[in-house]
């Protein structure tokens, strides 16, 4: 039972991070390497807001937690739009330059946050959802359940938005064929900004949720981003469904590895899987050769 919960926890967290990458690449055809830093900034924002509660702010911690996730999503979404306008839009003719610029940005954001937050790791002091639930003999923390519930809710909400709303359809249109979409009167610039905001907001939510459960450091983005890109490459860059399948598969795989006691091989398994997939089908399992 422990394992099932852990699988759900890990998979939903992986999906939140990778969906944003696939979304941004699908529409804008650029790879934002600073995506992991959005995740990190989300975690930092939630940490700061929750520390207000520990320091005496009289608000229900659970409520504060949900609020701070929303704030983190908003702030990071805004930051992402600014970055898109300033950095990516001018470089959109040169995808490689945009990518390298985002790599530079990664370090810029990291060092700036480290300046204010400090280089050491810190965990959240206020517990939003204390206590454990005993189910089938296993003790599961309510915190973990909350993370799963919120992540799944965000993912489902996002999926419904993409599928059924007008803007969602516009996004899908841009991702499939930007020229045809423009001919239909869809404003590509606006869609790019929206997509950037959404994808980064999801990453920020992941950062806030997981940061709550583990620890927050300015360097947590870096460890997440490489892994996230492995999942995305295997799933198919730009293919949201493929990426969800891939992230879930890795969630299961990693949980099993951890349970079996081989956690030191996790990284190795990731890279070997990626090398194999790239040798056989470089576009990813669900990707389309462009």
């Amino acid at each position: 039972m422990d394992i099932v919960i852990y699988i759900l926890f890990l998979s939903s967290y992986y999906c939140l991070v990778t969906v944003g990458i696939a979304l941004v690449f699908g529409v804008m055809k650029i790879i934002n390497f600073a995506h992991g830093e959005f995740y990190m900034i989300g975690g930092v924002i939630v940490w700061y807001l929750m520390s207000l509660v520990s320091n005496g702010l009289q608000v229900n911690p659970a409520l504060m937690f949900i609020l701070s996730i929303l704030v983190a999503m908003l702030v990071v979404g805004l930051l992402a739009v600014i970055i898109q306008r300033v950095l990516f839009e001018p470089l959109k003719k040169e995808p490689f330059s945009a990518f390298m610029a985002s790599y530079g940005l990664l370090y810029v954001l990291q060092v700036v946050v480290a300046e204010f937050f400090g280089r050491k790791e810190r965990s959240m002091t206020a517990t939003p959802f204390p206590g454990n639930l005993t189910l089938f003999g296993a003790s599961i923390s309510y915190q973990r359940i909350a993370v799963i519930v919120v992540s799944v809710a965000l993912l489902i909400g996002f999926g419904l938005f993409l599928r059924y709303s007008r803007t969602g359809r516009a996004i899908r249109a841009c991702s499939q064929d930007s020229v045809a979409a423009a001919l239909q009167g869809i404003n590509a610039k606006r869609i790019s900004m929206l997509v950037m905001a959404l994808g980064s907001a999801l990453a920020a939510a992941a950062g806030g949720l997981v940061g709550a459960s583990l620890v927050v450091t300015p360097y947590m983005g870096e460890s997440v981003i490489w892994q996230a890109f492995v999942f995305v490459i295997i799933g198919g860059l730009g293919n949201i469904k493929g990426v969800i399948v891939s992230s879930t598969a890795f969630g299961i795989l990693h949980s099993l590895i951890l349970a079996a006691g081989f956690s030191q091989y996790q990284q190795l398994v990731n890279v070997i899987a990626m090398l194999i997939i790239l040798s056989i089908k470089p576009e990813g399992v669900f990707g389309n050769a462009s």
Binding site: F99, G104, V111, Q267, L268, I276, L278, P282
Partner: protein
């Protein structure tokens, strides 16, 4: 005076300055210069690989592989001297690169970047996980400076610098020559239009593989020098952070010309030295320079003289038209 003569005099001046360095610099600065020399080998060879259009993110781990090979050959497994180890270790790294090239060169562009990163991580994980052979996180230690000969002693920084300088010049000579001859020109052709190159009968995979393998040889060689200079190897030294710095040097200096990476190495090493009180800000500054370069000077700093000349010429032309 002709441009060629100016160039030759310039190179001679630079060489004399490099040789005279130990007379002027403190031990601490010589340390940085030696590392700068090793970085020069890495930057030039990375750019050589990039000629066919791919950024090899396994470059630094392969450097680490060179370090580990020499560690094993000179201390643990055998007791061979440095001078034997450096060719053998570099060739072993070249072999590893050859094997890796089969899956890696199936990919291109961003996929190649990520795949090469994965390959590099795999190497690092192998060192970390195999504690008995590679020492895990602690790495391996005990390497000594190269054995002296003819009365030359390499344990001082100054003599180490001359050794590194010779290797740097050797690397530059070999790669420059290779670039001017068939391999480099074909690689550039592949990079600009692979389909077209194939259609005229060029064996694109062979050329891609050759550039990758040759460039990686020099990464291994740099690793051997680094390991013997520091006296130890550890997986923490060969991370993506280091790869990022070398890549930044190449791009900021200019990936499109041979001298670009060298300019990048000198500039960024100087920047790092100026920031020695605030080392944690170095990635930030590199990042800002990188973004500015990509934005304003995509061809790197080395393209500044060319751009200035171009502007001067075009102004002269338009003036001529107006006046006439």
């Amino acid at each position: 005076m002709q441009a060629k003569t100016i160039k030759r005099i310039g190179i001679a001046v630079v060489l004399i300055a490099l040789i005279a360095l130990p007379a002027f610099l403190s031990k601490y600065l010589m340390y940085l210069v030696i590392i700068g020399g090793i970085n020069a080998i890495l930057a030039v060879s990375l750019r050589f690989i990039n000629l066919f259009g791919g950024w090899s993110f396994v470059h630094i781990p392969l450097m680490g592989m060179g370090g580990y090979m020499t560690a094993l050959l000179t201390t643990t497994i055998g007791n061979i001297p440095f001078w034997l180890s450096i060719p053998i270790s570099s060739l072993l790294v070249m072999l590893v690169a050859l094997i890796l090239s089969y899956p890696l060169l199936q990919t291109g562009g961003f996929y190649f970047f990520l795949a090469s990163y994965a390959a590099g991580e795999m190497l690092r994980q192998i060192w970390i996980v195999n504690k008995d052979v590679f020492g895990g996180y602690n790495g391996l230690a005990g390497m000594s400076a190269p054995e002296g000969f003819l009365g030359i002693n390499f344990s001082s920084y100054n003599s180490m610098w001359y050794l590194v300088l010779i290797f740097v010049l050797g690397t530059i000579a070999v790669l420059y020559w290779l670039e001017k001859t068939l391999v480099g020109v074909s690689a550039r052709s592949i990079s600009s239009n692979e389909q077209l190159s194939k259609s005229i009968g060029m064996n694109t995979s062979a050329y891609k593989r050759a550039t990758f393998v040759i460039g990686s040889f020099f990464a291994g060689m740099a690793g051997v020098l680094y390991a013997h200079f520091l006296g130890y190897v550890s997986p923490l030294d060969y991370t993506s952070d280091y790869a990022y710095q070398i890549m930044a040097m190449v791009i900021i200096g200019g990936a499109s010309s041979f001298a670009g990476p060298l300019v990048g190495v000198v500039l960024l090493t100087a920047v790092r030295e100026m920031m020695h009180e605030l080392l944690t800000y170095v990635p930030l500054v590199y990042g800002i320079f990188l973004i500015l370069t990509l934005y304003f000077l995509p061809e790197g700093i080395i393209s500044i003289p060319r751009r200035v000349l171009k502007k001067m010429h075009s102004r002269r032309d338009s003036k001529g038209q107006g006046g006439g």
